[in-house]
Amino acid sequence: MEKGYIALVLHAHLPFVRHPEHEDFLEEDWLYEAITETYIPLIEVFEGLVRDKVPFRITMSLTPTLLSMLLDPLLQNRYLRHLEKLIELAGKEIERTRWHPEFNSLALMYYHRFNRARQVFCDEYKMNLTSAFKKFYDLGVLEIITCGATHGFLPLMEVERRISVRAQVKVGVDMHRKIFGKTPVGIWLPECGYNPGDDEILKEFGIKYFLTDTHGILFGSPRPKYGVFAPCYCKSGVAAFSRDVESSKSVWSTQEGYPGDYSYREFYRDVGYDLEFDYIKPYILPDGTRINTGIKYYKITGETDHKEPYVVKHALDKAADHAGNFMFNREKQAEHLLGLMGDRRPIIVSPYDAELFGHWWFEGPDWINFLIRKIHYDQKVIKLITPSDYLHIYPRNQVITPSYSSWGWKGYNEVWLEGANDWIYRHLHKTVERMIELAGIHASLEPSGLVRRALNQAARELLLAQSSDWAFIMKTQTHSSYAYRRTKDHIYRFTRLYDEIKSGKIDENFLLDIEGKDNLFPDIDYKMYCR
């Protein structure tokens, strides 16, 4: 009999970025890179485990914006175009590196990886990767949970909180039901942002649990008897699971974490920057600005600018070592905890950004693969489960009020509320109030087709403006102008619709234009903003 449980939770999210008005659009690459480097490799890992009949349970949140993009034909076709260019470049690289065996073998690896990605994307899943995740969900190896509609950071929805939060949750739950055919059992609160009382809204939608950072439970009241090693129920009856610090650190930490190992691939050395201009020009931006291509030849090497060529075998050996180390530490942890807890087995919750695996930590999907196999074959102390599995084993848990918290730096709201982004909230809050005003006016009467479309589009624009990603990116250097523009675009589009709906003069061409651009959530109903 096992002595404890481990719940790996992978949070897959990207903001909605789709620009049909441009032939090429740089920020769409966020999606393309994540598909090639994270989503497809993870699908391959799950596929292999199922094929080899290795039992496992993993929890994954797929956000509504990410699902919307994965389902979108324009982005699907653009991804394929992107991938085919990568295959072409990798092919040229095989020839170019002929006299450099260490690079040549890597060029071959990329060539095969990209071709394999093409096969998975086109042939196996017919361009729709949500069907891959659904497959593993239905097989019972993945527990897919939902998230806020656009990853809006809930704790800062201070004005009209209940309606704002409810709309984010409702759209997430509806989308999950539509794509996966069942009600999500859990939710990933965007950025793990928890505000006491928001759980009441989760309960309304049949959600059984959410995840918080460590101090969500640890600083909760009354004192949690088992710390973060057992869930707690909120008064609403919804369970909170909190992140384990030790296991988190071993992956997340730039100091002690596995991904910093010198044998692993260096993220910041890319042929897009390294190679001769005329040669690489077709694969960077049309204006000649260099960008990442995804072909990277070097390992981290050390704290130096001089990087050595990457060696696949060494990196894979390290990933296997690290998986073994992770498992061993969790075994020790579980044994010790069981001794202390006595009457129940502990759950160790390890949540990560899914994009960490593959995109940031190139070997991450291999690490997960090794870890799952080792857990199954090499020991009997710990077992992989999902939060809902734990609630089945231990339906009785302590009732507390978890603490207000997020998993952002410093643990609260500062990442999304500081000098670079605090100015957005007066506009976001006003926009919510206006949306509620519009919904109120059209609450009882059935508006005409055009008015209803305008109201629904206004709701989409509001939700898009609320994405936590914009506030987050505003404080980083490189894409802050994009984040600023997106906030501005959605507030502008909303405000114009608001004025037009109120004056009764809806410009259908404008509406058509933005319906075509911000085309997610086809089934949205503005009435969720009625009081």
Binding site: L218, L340, D422
Partner: protein
């Protein structure tokens, strides 16, 4: 403005200056860009008008009622605020940033002419939680409202003294304006429209009034905020009888949950908890403690100091009959339709013999040409 002086100033200060100079988009500017913009503006201004006139013009532009253009003063020093996560969040944030990293560039231009409105014609103040010790507030007051209140003050034969924020501790009370446990005031000296307020106490409820303090010390309220509660920081004192255990056991689980290691008693853990906090607060530089993973911003700024990278590639090209078969170093290559070919190789140090062999379609004729290339790097 003196460029060197600007360089020494903090970014916040520069943003404040830039906003006063009506420079747009300061939120998005790097420090270097701010300095650039400021020096350009001041050069322009110096040319244009004598100083006195400029001041008059600025006063005209900013109506009395608008608290505009000032950055919050009561904000914490950058990292020396309280840093209390139990985890190394900063590492996580680096990783999360990488998700959006495509290289140091972004080219989005909007076509739509739209400026965020300076106000919505509301009289309101909103409070938001930043962390257990700080709350943030923004507000908007219309000139009509301010005039109305000023008239009320005048009608009572009083004088307005200053604009203030009054921050009430309303924990556990239904606030009626007079029943707060305590309150404190913040004088709004500039033309602020928002403020970071250090309330110092976790796990308390707060309401903020914005108003004008009159000469008799009476506060004339312009607007009252929503109520917010700062989060608890630390283990709760409330114990649940049903889930009770020894004090020491609570601390053991607390310590393990917080990643403080195993086998420590409650006293040691309490100490560690404190110490860990102090460490995090004092090591404001830990964000700079970059590991082997370089950070996105580091790359964006490029390497410091002078540097040079050189590499060589070799282009081998030629032409034959379009239907001939050609090998280069014994590997077949593909010809273009007109029989031309181009090959490009990364050229390492050393000698390369590159036999190019063309064979006619019927196999009757063969030509071989062998360029020999030596690269030596010193």
């Amino acid at each position: 403005m003196d460029k060197n002086k600007l360089k020494k100033a903090k970014k916040d200060k520069l943003m404040l200056l830039a906003r006063r100079s009506n420079i747009r988009g300061t939120n998005l500017m790097s420090k270097e860009r701010l300095i650039d913009a400021l020096t350009r503006v001041s050069a322009k201004k110096a040319k244009k008008k004598p100083k006195a006139q400029r001041v008059i013009k600025q006063i005209k532009k900013l109506p009395q009622y608008q608290f505009q253009g000032r950055r919050p003063i009561a904000r914490p020093p950058l990292m020396a605020g309280r840093s209390h996560s139990l985890l190394e969040k900063n590492g996580q944030q680096k990783v999360e940033e990488a998700k959006y990293y495509l290289g140091p560039t972004s080219q989005y231009q909007s076509l739509e002419e739209f400026q965020f409105p300076a106000g919505y014609g509301d009289n309101r103040i909103v409070a938001m939680v930043r962390d257990p010790w700080w709350i943030y507030s923004y507000w908007e007051i219309t000139p009509e409202k301010e005039n109305e209140v000023r008239n009320r003050i005048a009608q009572k034969g009083l004088n307005p003294v200053k604009s203030i924020l009054r921050v009430y501790d309303v924990t556990g009370v239904e606030f009626d304006g007079n029943n707060a446990h305590t309150f404190f005031d913040i004088e709004l000296k500039g033309l602020a429209i928002n403020w970071y307020i250090n309330v110092k106490n976790p796990n308390r409820a707060w309401i903020i009034d914005i108003g004008i303090l009159a000469s008799n010390d009476e506060l004339f309220v312009l607007a009252r905020s929503n109520c917010v509660r700062t989060p608890r920081f630390g283990m709760s004192d409330v114990v649940d009888e049903e889930w009770m255990c020894q004090e020491d056991d609570y601390w053991k689980m607390f310590g393990l949950s917080g990643g403080f290691g195993i086998g420590k008693g409650s006293l040691a853990l309490k100490e560690m908890f404190k110490k860990r906090l102090v460490e995090q607060i004092s090591s404001a530089g830990w964000s700079g403690a970059v590991s082997s993973l370089s950070s996105p911003s580091k790359k964006a700024l490029k390497k410091k100091g002078f540097w040079l990278v050189v590499d060589c590639e070799l282009i081998v090209y030629g032409q034959t009959e379009h239907d001939a078969k050609v090998t280069v170093q014994n590997k077949p290559i593909r010809l273009r339709k007109d029989g031309t070919f181009t090959l490009r190789f990364a050229l390492p140090d050393g000698k390369q013999d590159i036999p190019v062999v063309a064979t006619s379609f019927d196999g009757d004729d063969t030509r071989t040409i062998t360029p020999i290339v030596t690269r030596r790097t010193i």
